[in-house]
């Protein structure tokens, strides 16, 4: 838990202040210093154009952070609202909604994201939108499950009797009470979202050059794998570390919310 938090705090700092803290200009081409192995001068080495890999990684972080957070945040919003409504209202509405989510979940998320991204064209917003299509159903399902179990509870009954409108009940009671499982999942999911975003940019669908982006860096550096492994492996490790941190954080959150551990 501690590891995850400290890592994320550092990362956030990097994301916010990174652009001004980089030791080298990430776009600076330097043909005299190409393919340098990691050293004290260049923490992550330099790439085929002599650019400092470390600086490029740092500069790339806001891009992936933005993509990851946007995907999850928007999905949480859309999914939670739709799912809670569906679960609460029940009946035919709920059944139809379930079938719809079934369809979306049947399509492998990555492939769906690729299809939509290809249809929409290059660019960061398109990457976000593309992933959203496959992302929201999971939160809808989670929210729906919570709504179903909350529906029968005492205080919801009294709210209904008191004549409070459906949507107010959903907004004020159902959604806030379902908060913790969704939060836990969302935290784990941010790591996932960043992974998917990186795969899409690896395939050339996301941020376009010369904007640095981790996935893209891995792809560009592949060719030099044998002689200069750091160009592609290190950005890959960065992605891994970030995803891992969010996973650890999510795991820790889940343990914290687990009633068995409450005193």
């Amino acid at each position: 838990m501690a590891v995850g938090i400290s890592f994320i705090v550092t990362s956030i700092a990097v994301v916010i202040f990174g652009n001004s803290l980089v030791p080298y200009d990430p776009t600076q081409v330097n043909m005299m210093a190409t393919f340098q192995a990691p050293s004290l001068q260049h923490f992550f080495g330099t790439d085929n154009l002599g650019r400092d890999v470390f600086s490029r990684c740092v500069v790339a972080s806001p891009v992936d952070a933005e993509i990851g957070f946007s995907i999850v945040l928007i999905s949480v919003f859309i999914g939670t609202f739709l799912g809670s409504c569906s679960g609460y209202i029940g009946g035919k509405v709920d059944e139809t909604f379930m079938r719809i989510t079934d369809v979306f979940i049947a399509i492998p998320t990555l492939v769906l994201a690729v299809v939509v991204a290809v249809a929409l064209g290059p660019g960061i917003e398109h990457v976000i939108e593309a992933n959203l299509v496959g992302w929201w159903p999971v939160y809808a399902r989670l929210a729906r499950a919570g709504a179903l179990s909350l529906k029968e509870s005492q205080f919801i009954e009294s709210a209904k009797v008191a004549g409070i409108s459906r949507y107010k009940i959903i907004l004020k009671h159902i959604i806030p009470n379902n908060f913790s499982p969704i939060l836990v999942y969302a935290t784990l999911d941010i790591g996932n979202a960043i992974l998917y975003a990186s795969v899409l940019s690896y395939l050339g669908l996301g941020a376009q050059p010369p904007q640095a982006e981790w996935g893209r860096m891995v792809y560009d550096g592949q060719v030099y794998l044998v002689n200069a492994w750091w160009i592609s492996i290190i950005p890959g490790l960065v992605i891994f570390a970030v995803a891992l941190a969010f996973n650890l954080l999510g795991d820790a959150l889940r343990d914290a919310f687990d009633p068995r551990y409450r005193k």
């Binding site: 492998p108 990555l110 939509v116 669908l205």
Partner: protein
């Protein structure tokens, strides 16, 4: 003992449901291909198409007609195997995918088998050694798998085994260049070479299969072992395990005959998830290992912004997931007699 009673009806019901899901998926692909994008004919014809070609496509896709009509013709085309021509390769999408499909099927099956072979024992080990060293190792492995971008594992594996250790064969692809592929029966080199009795081909095929399938398995290993672990823990503290111990059954039988079988429900249910993640991952991993499958086809198409090809891949992959779902349901009904009543 499997009782046929109830099983057939169960399967029939699940098939009907799957068809419904497929229908929904096809509609979504239709929506994305023809409705959601601003100029479908142009996109489909490709960036270099002439105005005449685009006009011809507009007629063929009935783009001027109401959506229902369009959808009808879309469906008809789809079922006839007419999935358009890929602008980037110039080949019909359907034919290309049909050619590449066996390779991906082989890879996916190998990956899932590998995942089960490693993931299940790992999960059992973790559960029977809860909070001890083995448990922590299992957790570490599963976390790494979940957090890994697919290209990382693939590249690292290539680097280590391919280049540094030189353990695995030189060329990419499914079989060594020096070896002739076996005659086509299933399209799976491993199976076909066994059928033909061609041992060198089999060995070569397996050698080439190991690294990419391991790279894929790594992605879903964590999921499976975690599910096995959680189910095992629940099983081990259950009432029936208490009865089994009271009967004097050896620990080994309790764990491997009873608890393990009872733990299989969740991991098997997740089969469609494994397939979904594997197919998604294959897009990257097939590219890196030069594996001539649908995934690589999709990756190349994506890089060229080739919508028809990627769309075709989506449909095929979704079919795979639906099929896996069905397979999982059947497997579950075999394992758990209570399910057949639903």
């Amino acid at each position: 003992m499997v009782r046929p009673r109830g099983l057939v009806g169960f399967i029939a019901r699940r098939i009907v449901l799957s068809v419904g899901v497929l229908f929904g998926v096809i509609f979504i692909t239709f929506f994305i291909s023809r409705v959601a994008i601003p100029d479908p004919a142009r996109v489909w014809a490709g960036p270099r198409a002439s105005a005449a070609a685009i006009a011809a496509l507009t007629v063929r896709f009935h783009l001027a007609d109401p959506i229902f009509v369009q959808f009808y013709y879309y469906l008809v085309d789809l079922l006839h195997g007419d999935w358009s021509v890929s602008p980037s390769s110039g080949q019909p999408v359907f034919t290309s995918i049909a050619n590449y499909l066996p390779a991906t099927v082989e890879l996916t099956i190998a990956a899932i088998i590998l995942t089960a072979l490693i993931g299940i024992p790992l999960g059992v080990l973790a559960a029977t050694n809860k909070d001890k060293a083995a448990d922590h190792v299992c957790r570490l492995v599963s976390l790494s798998g979940v957090a890994s971008p697919p290209f990382l594992a693939a590249l690292l594996l290539q680097l280590i085994f391919f280049y540094y250790l030189k353990v695995f064969p030189d060329s990419g692809g499914r079989i060594s260049l020096a070896v002739t592929p076996p005659p086509y029966v299933t399209g799976l080199y491993t199976v076909d070479s066994l059928i033909a009795g061609d041992w060198p081909a089999f060995v070569s095929a397996v050698q080439h299969l190991i690294l990419p399938s391991f790279a894929l398995a790594f992605l879903i290993l964590g999921l499976m072992s975690r599910l096995v672990r959680a189910s095992m823990l629940e099983a081990l503290t259950s009432d029936y395990v208490r009865t089994l111990k009271a009967k004097g059954l050896s620990r080994r039988l309790v764990i491997y005959k009873h608890a393990l079988r009872n733990s299989m429900t969740q991991p098997v249910t997740a089969l469609s998830l494994y397939v979904a993640y594997t197919l998604g991952g294959s897009v990257v991993i097939e590219s890196i290992f030069s594996w001539p499958g649908v995934g690589r086809y999709a990756a190349q198409a994506a890089q060229s912004f080739d919508l028809p090809a990627v769309m075709g891949t989506t449909i095929v992959f979704t079919l795979g997931v639906v099929f896996a779902n069905l397979a999982a349901d059947i497997l579950l009904a075999v394992i758990d007699p209570r399910i057949r009543l639903r």
